[in-house]
Symmetry: C2
Subunit: 215 residues, 2 copies
Amino acid sequence: MTDRNRTADGEAQRRTRRRRGAELVAAIHEAALDETAEHGLGRLTMEGIARRAGTAKTSLYRRWSSPEDIVIEALYRMYPMEEPSPGADDLRGDLIAALKLMRDGLMQPIYGAVMGAVLEEARRRPDLHKRLYSDVFDARGGRFTRTVLLHYAEHGRIDPARLTPVVFDIGEALMLKYGVDMFELPDDAYIDAIVDQAILPAIGHGHENPPSGRT
Amino acid sequence: MTDRNRTADGEAQRRTRRRRGAELVAAIHEAALDETAEHGLGRLTMEGIARRAGTAKTSLYRRWSSPEDIVIEALYRMYPMEEPSPGADDLRGDLIAALKLMRDGLMQPIYGAVMGAVLEEARRRPDLHKRLYSDVFDARGGRFTRTVLLHYAEHGRIDPARLTPVVFDIGEALMLKYGVDMFELPDDAYIDAIVDQAILPAIGHGHENPPSGRT
DNA sequence: CATGTTAGATACGGACACGTATCTAATTCT
DNA sequence: AGAATTAGATACGTGTCCGTATCTAACATG
């Protein structure tokens, strides 16, 4: 609980300088993500966010009507915008790069935890589910291996008939499951293994290397 | 909130017949799962479980010290025990059957929702994570495609070198991701597609059928 | 029937969060 | 400097939940 008494930048004292506008919103966004990562969405409170952001509840209620509103807006604003930049002659490398992008962006400790918490809550909340997918995922794009696969299909390197919703999902599904089962992010070797053992075979590019496996 | 005022079997009135022992525990277990599925683990309360089970809080506190304890025990008790029964000459059929078993057991609306909620909470709670895996998953076994794949490898139908942690995870990972992205369970066609488009290629059994796709 | 065991009902003090209202203080702009 | 805007502080009544304590009622057993 001690952490709850601290503001986003570690100050435990009352500030005389007041943050305004965008600066304040940024601090509140960050506090909302931190609070969610730490306590889950079910225990997310306006008081907790306010306390952590070092601001008054009134500042929150002036802009948002619920904690979830803050979180969705924060997820949107902080969505990693870097996208795969596939070339034309290194399918394997580009797939690996895409999954690393996913790991290093979406699956980071805070962002990933919040995303997981919201997805879980979204099971019970069609409204939240819809907002997450339309306002965050679809609005921000962010498809990883899918982008690479489509690109290489356009360049005639993959049979387009192999590109199905299942195949698009393989890499990301395996990354997510690893994150759930383990208590850490997939390492480079695991990402290599996903590409070599699952994605490449699925698109008809049998691999020549021995399986790397989980280390 | 009206539902919270009802007991597990729909009775809204005070009962004169008292449930004792195992019967009472079963009702409490069921109430705990229902409450979790409905409100999430973060908002799960002893009062809510008691109210839903139509019993007194004292009956809960006599046995358990926290709501999570009840849920873990309930997950253990209600874990679907049916396991894949692979034959020897229908790898595809057995893989499909295994995934259907997963869908119809673990992914059912209540059980699946609770499992998801606990997994999400387990991100923040190493103790809970450990208990879930050791007390529920490991204690109950329940590996789906893995069981089938190992079986067929023992019968010489699959090259054992192809069986890696990644390959074991493919089917279940895709099932889980579908469940998260969509608001429904994977249908038979999707399960067929997982087996044909992802699992079989991964173990070197290229399929002859056209991709089924998501319908 | 008497006794022992278990279930249920309820009170209690304390903690926490909600959402609103009100007022003061700080900052920006003219 | 004064006015307008925004941020911060705090009070408030209400509701929910916690965990404990206490007591009565129901049930099982000898």
